[in-house]
């Protein structure tokens, strides 16, 4: 009841400030920009005069799964940035402005407060990713050839998990400080550090959440779900739960002023 109240309030807030419109649209753009530009690359090169007269220029057409991975890598950079930006103030901002004082002086469970906000952002982001994936799939099909829809859905499921993990990091950081900009910084630093460690020690960290992306090409090509992908997903779910519990502990130790 209390949880639903906060969840609904978050969703209404996202509607009033147009997040429900612009976030999905932006994710669509991120997802279709690479398939389109790859398809039109020869024309673009030609029209900008980058190719000498008479030279035949042969760019091999990449396979559909590779094109789809381009969309995912856009989401991995720009998408992550947008997610961090839209979540950076969800708790920190309320504490900074002082609204949190009025909310948390009511008999609100801190876990409900945190998890409802988390869930509201998960809803928005996961739906946006789904729409983005569908758009990318549509263009890939149209311009590059057959890509099985089921494979796209499986990839969406695993990639969605990773994005949920990113939201959880941001929510966790939200409880540490009242400054949204600092939340953004800490979230991005954490992601970069995880990436760095994963790249340095790929054999030890096969189950790292950031590895999920690297298992997706196989999924897209033939629908095979590697053992490590399952393990990375389980790991991601565990870390997400830990982050949410950690957020609760940190917030209840903070002074709401």
């Amino acid at each position: 009841m209390q949880w639903r109240t906060i969840y609904r309030k978050e969703c209404v807030e996202s509607a009033r400030n147009f997040k429900w419109i612009w976030v999905p649209l932006v994710f669509i753009l991120f997802c279709i920009i690479d398939p389109l530009s790859t398809y039109y690359l020869p024309q673009i090169l030609e029209s900008t005069g980058g190719v000498p007269e008479g030279a035949t220029f042969n760019i091999p057409t990449p396979p559909p799964s590779e094109v789809f991975m381009m969309s995912i890598s856009q989401l991995n950079t720009l998408g992550l940035l947008v997610i961090s930006l839209i979540t950076m103030g969800t708790i920190a901002g309320e504490r900074k402005s002082g609204v949190a004082e009025l909310i948390l002086v009511k008999p609100v469970s801190y876990m409900a407060y945190i998890s409802a906000k988390w869930a509201a952002h998960v809803t928005l982001v996961v739906l946006s990713i789904l729409i983005g994936f569908l758009a990318s799939w549509y263009y890939t099909q149209l311009l590059f050839g057959e890509l099985q829809f089921l494979h796209v859905l499986i990839a969406f499921f695993f990639y969605g998990l990773y994005m949920v993990f990113v939201i959880s990091i941001s929510i966790f950081m939200n409880t540490w400080t009242k400054i949204p900009g600092l939340v953004l910084f800490l979230t991005l630093c954490t992601l970069i550090l995880i990436n760095l460690f994963t790249n340095l020690l790929p054999h030890f960290l096969e189950w790292s959440p950031t590895m999920i992306t690297s298992y997706l090409p196989t999924v897209l090509m033939n629908g095979d779900i590697a053992q490590n992908l399952w393990m990375a997903s389980v790991m991601t779910i565990i870390l997400t739960a830990l982050l949410l519990m950690g957020a609760k502990i940190v917030l209840s130790k903070k002074e709401i002023t």
């Binding site: 419109i21 612009w22 039109y40 024309q43 029209s47 900008t48 839209i86 103030g89 263009y139």
Partner: protein
């Protein structure tokens, strides 16, 4: 001139493919403007945001939604 004609020709041929891209950009611009008109205070002057939204494609409206709006209004 030949170059731009080529581009126009390409666009004409592929209008069905490009159209969604243009529509999305248009929706972004319109929603950003509606939001800008309805909100009382923005970070920075309103006219500046209007220019940014109108003339910097895609990035402009996004920048407005993220940085232009005051939290909580």
């Amino acid at each position: 001139m030949i170059m731009t004609q080529d581009v126009i020709q390409t666009i004409n041929e592929h209008i069905a493919i490009i159209a969604p891209l243009l529509i999305i950009q248009a929706i972004l611009i319109v929603t950003a403007l509606v939001s800008l008109i309805r909100t009382e205070v923005t970070n920075g002057p309103k006219w500046m945001w209007a220019l940014i939204i109108l003339f910097i494609s895609t990035i402009g409206p996004i920048a407005y939604f993220i940085f232009g709006r005051r939290n909580d209004t």
